[in-house]
């Protein structure tokens, strides 16, 4: 029996899926517990009252971290940064990728090779001088300092170029003969045909920048400008010992990404399988 043979496979998968998911469930339940119900001898996966055992969830932890913990402001900051950065980056990358893929100009392939070589430099090597550059153009400790130094990605240019190369050039030639300019071709021919790759790049870059801790950590000083991961990191320090606050903060950081991944899961999986790119 084929299905009987698969039962152990399913059992293993359920166990692995539990290992994968239970940390999130525990985060959620802790975040909805009253502070007094969090520290129990036997961990409870549901927000129940320690004494009566009744189901007693609360949102008071969220109120606290959003108002006093500064995560409300940080959430808005993160949304704002991503709303500007992700589309801007997509545009910069797609335009460059289009030129590298489709417009022959002297030195093109050499320039592209140099860009690719630049990809090999570890980001950590660039970190300190990047701060220096950000400081000298006056963007240190500002939200534009999170946006401008991240506004392009060689990896994304490479991926988009690969995809653009696979679009049959006949389509473009027809448009050229009809007298269309390069920009018209880009918007009318290339972009509509590239929705899958454009969305993968958009989603992965949203996830990356929404989650990014290191760059905001080194560029921002003013707590009013903190992004969510940075504010959460701060909360982990200041409220250490109050797991219910920290877990409420973590939930705020995690839920938007999980929502995006659930909605676009097929695209994301295809994108990763195809490119191996690290989020």
């Amino acid at each position: 029996m084929k299905s009987a043979r698969l039962i152990p496979v399913y059992i293993c998968l359920v166990v692995l899926a539990l290992i994968s998911i239970v940390p999130f469930l525990w985060m959620l339940s802790t975040s909805f517990k009253h502070g007094s119900d969090v520290y129990t001898k036997v961990p409870n996966l549901l927000p129940v009252d320690k004494k009566t055992g009744e189901f007693a969830p609360t949102t008071e932890n969220y109120d606290y971290v959003l108002q006093i913990g500064g995560l409300g402001k940080a959430f808005v900051n993160s949304v704002w940064v991503c709303l500007i950065l992700v589309p801007a980056k997509l545009l910069v990358d797609a335009l460059a990728a289009y030129a590298f893929a489709r417009i022959p100009f002297p030195g093109r392939d050499k320039i592209f090779a140099v860009l690719l070589a630049g990809m090999m430099i570890p980001t950590i090597t660039l970190l300190v001088p990047r701060i220096f550059v950000t400081q000298s153009i006056g963007l240190f400790d500002s939200q534009w300092g999170l946006i401008v130094p991240n506004v392009a990605s060689v990896l994304d240019i490479f991926l988009l170029r690969q995809f653009f190369l696979s679009i049959p050039s006949e389509l473009e030639e027809a448009a050229l003969i009809d007298g269309a300019g390069r920009m018209q071709i880009f918007w009318r021919v290339i972009v509509p045909l590239s929705v899958p790759v454009l969305s993968v790049v958009t989603i992965t870059s949203f996830i990356f920048h929404w989650n990014d801790l290191v760059w905001p950590l080194v560029v921002l000083n003013d707590p009013d400008k903190y992004t969510l991961p940075l504010a959460l990191q701060q909360l982990t320090q200041t409220e250490s010992g109050r797991a219910y606050y920290i877990m409420a903060g973590a939930t705020l950081a995690v839920v938007p990404v999980i929502a995006v991944v659930m909605i676009f899961q097929r695209r994301i999986m295809q994108g990763i399988a195809f490119t191996g790119l690290k989020t």
Binding site: Y10, L16, P43, V128, V154, G181
Partner: protein
């Protein structure tokens, strides 16, 4: 480095645009092309090329963000490598990083391969399991650190509760030097989702005719895995090994969150048992204000990663011939 899935495909590099060249278009086209790549080029020069060269220059100087760099030649490198009094934890950070890499990378790959094989074996529910196993890897480092600090809590943590079920005594995971690296490696394996997806793509790429032939020849599942599936996954395994090692050598955000205490103190764990190379670098750059030394550290790492990359290219070439 390009994923094997992508590399296997014949990339359509048929000199695009060449046929679309028509007399009279050329110069205007060049101008348009330059306009299109200009923003990316400015970014590249300003935030990649210049910083890389600057990092190299600063690595030969004594410098913090406020002073003018003071040329000291190779002193930073020499002190880092040989002056235990000045940089007492440099070699410790290398030891920690190598230990972490040696444990975390294979663990992650095995977890990813097992998950991929299991998911590949089923039809019904495969998308759901794939999604559930994928979620940890898209979670922000700050949140992962916060969640696992709580999971590893010695008194109330879920991890101790679970191992208690099989009779293992409670452990103070993040405060016992010998347990820090295994605890971190477990988190890495928990986040194996991307490797899992890449393995899954590799598995899908194995022609079913080969597997069927093995079945007809009477190979049992283990033999099929040993003799067919695993050898066919070699390029994928190799790719994941190299990218995994490169990433593990640079692990930072997670240890930063896990080992930051009240106030601003980041210590690198009990007895520096979680002081990874990049955390050490970060502390020198931003706590001890030694930017020049930090740049030197970053270049040592860069060279190390370059060596791995070059060796890997050599190896791939050897394989191909």
């Amino acid at each position: 480095m390009v994923s094997p899935v992508l590399a296997d495909k014949p990339t359509a590099t048929t000199e695009p645009g060449r046929h679309s060249r028509r007399p009279g278009r050329g110069r205007r086209d060049h101008l348009v092309a330059w306009l299109l790549i200009t923003p990316a080029l400015i970014y590249f020069v300003g935030f990649l090329l210049y910083p890389a060269l600057a990092a190299l220059y600063y690595s030969f100087t004594d410098w913090n963000l406020r002073t003018t760099p003071d040329w000291v030649g190779l002193a930073n490198y020499k002190d880092l490598l040989f002056d235990d009094a000045k940089y007492p934890h440099f070699w410790q950070s290398i030891k920690v990083t190598l230990q972490y890499t040696i444990i975390a990378v294979p663990l992650t790959m095995v977890a990813a391969l097992v998950q991929a094989l299991l998911i590949n074996a089923i039809r019904r529910g495969s998308n759901l399991f794939r999604l559930l196993l994928f979620l940890p890897v898209v979670t922000a480092e700050a949140a992962v650190g916060a969640i696992w600090r709580w999971l590893y809590d010695p008194q109330y943590g879920l991890v101790n509760a679970v191992i208690g079920l099989v009779g293992i005594p409670k452990q103070n995971w993040l405060n016992t030097p010998e347990l820090v690296i295994p605890a971190l490696a477990f988190i890495a394996a928990w986040q194996c989702g991307i490797s899992m997806i890449i393995y899954l793509a590799g598995l899908k790429g194995i022609p079913s005719s080969i597997t069927e032939a093995a079945i007809i020849d009477g190979a049992n599942p283990w033999q099929r895995f040993r003799r067919v599936t695993f050898p066919m996954l070699r390029p994928t395994t190799f790719y994941l090994l190299v990218t995994g090692v490169i990433a593990a050598l640079q692990v930072f955000g997670l240890v930063y969150v896990i080992f930051s205490g009240r106030g601003q103190s980041v210590t690198g764990g009990p007895e520096q048992s979680g002081l990874t190379y990049v955390l050490h670098l970060y502390l020198y750059a931003f706590r001890y204000d030694a930017m020049g030394a930090a740049c030197a550290m970053s270049f040592i790492l860069f060279v190390f990663i370059m060596i791995i990359t070059v060796l890997q290219f050599k190896f791939v070439k050897q394989e191909a011939s």
